[in-house]
């Protein structure tokens, strides 16, 4: 039977304080289950405890959240995704959080807008709620998948060919700004990367990555490009990864893919020009699933290829270093000292 101090009912202004205190005492795991209407509250509580959550994550703690992801609450979801593993479930009601599998905080609001928090530490109750949460998460959809669905489902499918270079630039900036979880960009030439830097596109990418958006950039290998990407992208922004193409692509093209829902491919007409407007040719902007998927697939293939090339380069350099050492023989014919000792002991 639960002891009286295992259950506390907290009202009004103490609710926020208690929830914050529960989070600030976390040691390893936080699981949140919030319905869509209460999402702003959890965002507020998490923002107030930003440092604690970061600290928990750096210690490999786990922070998970289930909610109903809708187009209307995407900004809040985006906020939560910065630090949480976010999942989606439809028609969800009720809001609670479980800290370290030991404390349960259930949030309620009555018809008059009065807030209440049920704070329970009774082990068997918390265990049952934890079991419920784990079962829910097994059936929930990862946020990325849900966001892709929303992106595809709410807009008419389109594929647009654009000739106006000013409009292309504006779409590039809007597209980057609209990213929720992921941006993939391919610059098939060094100059298109340099133009993007001059036009403030890299700066915008840096800003959006600070909001938790993961950015992958694939660019032609070049020393200037490497320097810029190190100083302006990789070093200041931990969410940005840059890989280098070792071989020229047969065509000059720049591709932007956002959240795997929209893609913009821009043909580079004159790579020697200074500005984006002068350099680019036709652009294709689309949210068609097959077009975006083809671009994603091509980007992923090139990304993987660039990683394999990097590994091969390292392997090649390693073998060059030990050239003439018959590395293979050494590995396979090595006689370990304890083997020799055993042999010698047997002879004696």
């Amino acid at each position: 039977m639960a002891k009286p101090r295992d259950i506390q009912v907290i009202s009004n202004h103490e609710v926020f304080k208690t929830m914050s205190r529960v989070i600030s005492n976390l040691n390893g795991r936080l699981d949140c289950y919030f319905d869509a209407k209460n999402l702003p509250l959890i965002v507020k509580i998490l923002s107030a405890n930003d440092q604690k959550i970061m600290e928990l994550k750096s210690k490999r703690g786990r922070v998970r959240c289930i909610t109903e992801i809708k187009r209307e609450n995407l900004p809040h979801c985006k906020e939560i995704m910065k630090n949480f593993e976010l999942y989606h479930t439809s028609c969800l009601t009720g809001s609670f959080l479980i800290a370290d599998g030991q404390e349960y905080a259930g949030y309620l609001m009555d018809a008059n807008g009065r807030e209440k928090l049920l704070h329970i530490t009774n082990p068997s109750f918390v265990d049952s709620q934890q079991f419920l949460f784990d079962a829910m998460i097994d059936r929930a959809l990862p946020a990325r998948q849900r966001i892709t669905e929303i992106g595809r489902g709410t807009e008419e499918e389109f594929m647009e060919t654009i000739r106006d270079s000013f409009r292309v630039k504006s779409i590039v900036l809007d597209l980057i700004g609209s990213a929720i979880y992921e941006i993939a960009i391919l610059f098939s030439t060094k100059n298109s990367f340099l133009i993007a830097e001059r036009e403030g596109i890299l700066e915008k990418i840096g800003r959006i990555s600070k909001q938790g958006v993961k950015v992958k950039i694939l660019v032609m290998q070049d020393e200037t490009v490497k320097e810029i990407s190190n100083t302006k992208l990789k070093m200041p922004h931990q969410n940005i990864q840059v890989n280098y193409l070792q071989q020229l692509l047969p065509t000059k093209i720049t591709t932007f893919i956002v959240d795997q829902t929209k893609s913009l491919t821009v043909e580079v007409n004159d790579d020697t020009r200074e500005t984006l407007q002068e350099a680019i040719g036709l652009a294709t902007y689309s949210n068609s699933e097959s077009t975006v998927f083809s671009n994603v697939s091509m980007f992923e293939s090139l990304w993987i290829q660039s990683e394999l090339d990097k590994q091969n380069k390292a392997r090649h350099a390693y073998f060059q270093l030990f050239k003439g050492f018959k590395l293979k023989d050494e590995v396979y014919n090595r006689r370990w000292s304890f083997d020799r000792e055993k042999e010698e002991a047997a002879k004696e």
């Binding site: 047969p250 043909e267 293939s301």
Partner: protein, 292 residues
């Protein structure tokens, strides 16, 4: 010669891409090229029917990280040699042929299908690694990929990894709108990165040939019938589709009833060296070797 990586794809199933890919691969090996044929029709694999050889391990095992390249690549040059010795009075061939077979077992297909986005990426990584290892260690001239039809995860990945795409179309059963869409949304996207794409027409009417083993007449002596597709004659339809899709035609292979209605899938190009289908395959193989 740099290795050419060619994917045979189609909008719908039953267009003959596996028959053409298998026969072309075998002919290229017979001609002295080193070829690897990969069954990436992961949802409905069928290469096994043509080569009747049990692999040590399946491509599925490799993609899931449970096998090495040499365990999944089955050396089948002896099959090409046997056919050549038996039906073409030639004892030796200079080329080589390896095949990566895909498992037909339901559970193996589910295992490939049911991955998360991370495991799918790791499988794509393994697939690209396979292509690279084959090119490097097997010194190949051709990597030929038989893909799944339509727009599915593995068909698009196979197309993205290849440097040349053949969109196989079966005459008389062409979904013009679907093909146009496929061409613009998928092939159009991939060709922007430098991938080359071609139309490959199959079962073009008018060359229906009788029984095996007869002396086959030249193509010039046969009469080309006209099959109507949306009001177009055969060659008109080819031109129309080529124009609509902005893709060149690599080959138009006539319909041969004896192949179409044969009870068993086999390597016609090796079994019947004088069959007009073999001649067509030779033309296609030459185009693959010289034009791409």
């Amino acid at each position: 010669m740099a290795t050419k990586c060619i994917a045979f794809h189609s909008y719908k199933g039953g267009t003959g891409k596996t028959t053409i890919a298998s026969n072309c691969a075998a002919l290229l090996a017979k001609k002295g090229f080193k070829v690897a044929l990969l069954d990436l029709d992961v949802y409905a694999p069928s290469l096994l029917a043509y080569f009747q050889r049990q692999p040590r391990k399946w491509l599925n095992d490799y993609l899931l990280g449970n096998a090495e390249v040499e365990e999944v690549m089955t050396h089948v040059t002896d099959i090409v040699e046997d056919y050549t010795r038996k039906y073409d009075n030639s004892a030796e061939i200079k080329g080589k042929l390896w095949i990566g077979f895909c498992s037909m077992k339901k559970e193996e297909i589910y295992r490939i299908e049911s991955g998360t986005s991370e495991t799918s990426k790791s499988q794509l990584r393994r697939f690209i690694l396979l292509r690279d290892n084959l090119i490097r260690d097997y010194d190949l001239d051709f990597v030929i990929i038989d893909t799944s039809p339509g727009i599915r995860y593995w068909s698009i990945n196979a197309l993205a990894v290849a440097d040349t795409l053949f969109l196989t179309l079966k005459m008389g059963d062409i979904d013009v709108e679907g093909t146009k869409r496929l061409a613009s949304e998928i092939y159009g996207s991939l060709t922007k990165y430098g991938t080359r794409s071609f139309l490959l027409f199959n079962r073009v009417s008018g060359y229906c040939m009788p029984v095996h083993g007869t002396q086959f007449s030249d193509q010039e002596n046969t009469t080309k019938n006209t099959t109507l597709i949306d009001g177009y004659g055969t060659s008109d339809a080819e031109n129309m589709l080529s124009k609509e899709t902005r893709m060149d035609v690599i080959s138009a292979i006539p319909c041969y009833c004896d192949i179409q209605f044969s009870r068993k899938e086999f390597l016609t190009a090796l079994r019947y060296p004088d069959h007009p289908f073999t001649k067509e395959m030779e033309i296609l193989a030459n185009a693959m070797a010289t034009k791409l």
